[in-house]
Symmetry: C2
Subunit: 380 residues, 2 copies
Amino acid sequence: MFKFELQAQSGQARAGVLYTPHGAIPTPVFAPVGTQATVKAMQPRELYELGATLILANTYHLYLRPSDGLIARLGGLHRFMAWERPILTDSGGFQVFSLDALRRIDDDGVTFRSHLDGSIHRFTPEKSIQIQHNLGADIIMCFDDCPKPHNRDEVRAACDRTHAWAVRCLEEHTRSGDPARQALFGIVQGGIFPDLRAESVRFLTDLDFVGYAIGGLAVGESKAEMLATLDCTVPLLPADRPRYLMGVGSPEDLVNGVARGVDIFDCVLPTRMARHGAALTRHGRLNMRNLEHAEDSAPIEASCTCYTCAHFSRAYLRHLVKSNELLGHQLLTLHNLHLLLTLMREMRAAILAGTFEIYAANFLATYRTTNKEAPAPTSL
Amino acid sequence: MFKFELQAQSGQARAGVLYTPHGAIPTPVFAPVGTQATVKAMQPRELYELGATLILANTYHLYLRPSDGLIARLGGLHRFMAWERPILTDSGGFQVFSLDALRRIDDDGVTFRSHLDGSIHRFTPEKSIQIQHNLGADIIMCFDDCPKPHNRDEVRAACDRTHAWAVRCLEEHTRSGDPARQALFGIVQGGIFPDLRAESVRFLTDLDFVGYAIGGLAVGESKAEMLATLDCTVPLLPADRPRYLMGVGSPEDLVNGVARGVDIFDCVLPTRMARHGAALTRHGRLNMRNLEHAEDSAPIEASCTCYTCAHFSRAYLRHLVKSNELLGHQLLTLHNLHLLLTLMREMRAAILAGTFEIYAANFLATYRTTNKEAPAPTSL
């Protein structure tokens, strides 16, 4: 069964535990993304070692390949990918809406072409929930309409659709699902408009979901707009339910999100950056291809305790990246995830100690934001 | 210091220990290939876990990128790649001779173009040894001329050149190297011609190398020719020196090589096959892309104790391979190396128990050779 236990608050920041059928998730928590039923370049045992307690998988991708039916016949997603801890699946909505020219939306659902073979498919709220039942994640999401955040008319229409679909998702989950096995979260929309966000919160909280996601952010708005939207939305959410900011995961965004009362995050940033040859650090981002690292015998971060930093120099990592060696992806992924998961644990400890505001201020004071640091959308 | 200790013999098969500055290597041994200072997709800790005691790195590749000078300045290859156990480097000869149109050979050395940027370089026996000194492997190889095995005139000319170069390599190693830190092996050539092989053995053993490699095999000759050449060459080599069959590593070739008295092997086969989506098993090779695996909940091999087989189904591995996920490369590489390293340990135990001939006969009786099973050349 699901239970969310709030343990401490420091300012708006919260520490808690979300209990699920596959174990307890201490919050605040960052979920590495395992789009195709694998967190890219990481073995489950490595993720356990890093202390990952929750991962995300993508409904759109797994529906297309290898198919949710196959995964169900093989015992569900946990068993399929040999991951014994909690999993969260998205609804497929964001992915399908990201297909641009390849999709057509109506009030009943979305028709789209597969990016793999061009075949035509249709998602409805009911279908998304049924697929997520087949996958068997602990936390599943409502199928929502995720618009660009700045056009008020579009955002309002998307809110109306999202709300109608939330009702249908809840009905489908109640009808054919097992709420003791899978918890359904609602998704708040409303773009950058405080009144629409408030209206969306009111509508969804009336439906009484196990948790609430803040959707429609990290999709092209400015940092200031994202934080302002959190400021006006999060306080309206019920304190006794977990809050999930979708698609956010740069170090500074995690700190700013926790400071505003968010409990759950996911993002492809640490894994994707690694494959692009970038290392995340407490002082900003390093491009490991840069010549300055060529003969540098120091690790990525001297203070880091990850396997990569304990054994390998920047010079070696640069060599691997320049040589397109798979080990480069692996070692950088491991380091980047280690940093974010450590950051989450440090924030949780600070909240429990009542020192979060000092911790956050110190972290942000030494963290160097680059232009590239804008939140990375979860793309295909 | 180096010492080779022969512990037992079972038929022609030998069990021994080769002591090196970075530890003891129980033989017979298979060395995974780490061309660019990384065994592709494998962390050193994973190779330790698999029981790898020796790896090979390629002089040609590391000379070009990141350069042997850089590796020397960073403390040598062991430190650069964080590998604490013994390393063997080839001479670069085979790689340079494989460049086809890009190289010109004369009696003094080889001029070639880099496959990376087209720049022109020159290897001589002295240069090869100097590069290998910079890399700092425990076992280093003479620079040799490696011809196609069937043309007697070409093979004879290559033998003459190989012998002259062996003298120069030994002189350079004596002059500028540290024989207590690095052991130089000679390489026997002679193609498929028994008299040329015998002549090559005589010439090289007169020079008194620490160990002897059998070169010029696994380069296009038939299986029968390879085994016949081993049959006529290995017995001529001194019993108190380790014997190394270069570039060989399919399961049946390892068994047949050990049966003929070979102590050391290396091959890209297990790592390369993994990246092509193939799993090695005790009963032959599996193409993990095949539809037959789509819903198969069984592991690659039910009897296998590797991490991959303990946790993941064929269906999941097929999904990873079909989806081009890095984890597919990693898990198949891990399994394939586990099989070959386990096979070597089993053969060693059988030799020590005096039961090698039964073991080998049983293994070969159940191992299904496919057409693809011809030895894979160590290419670029």
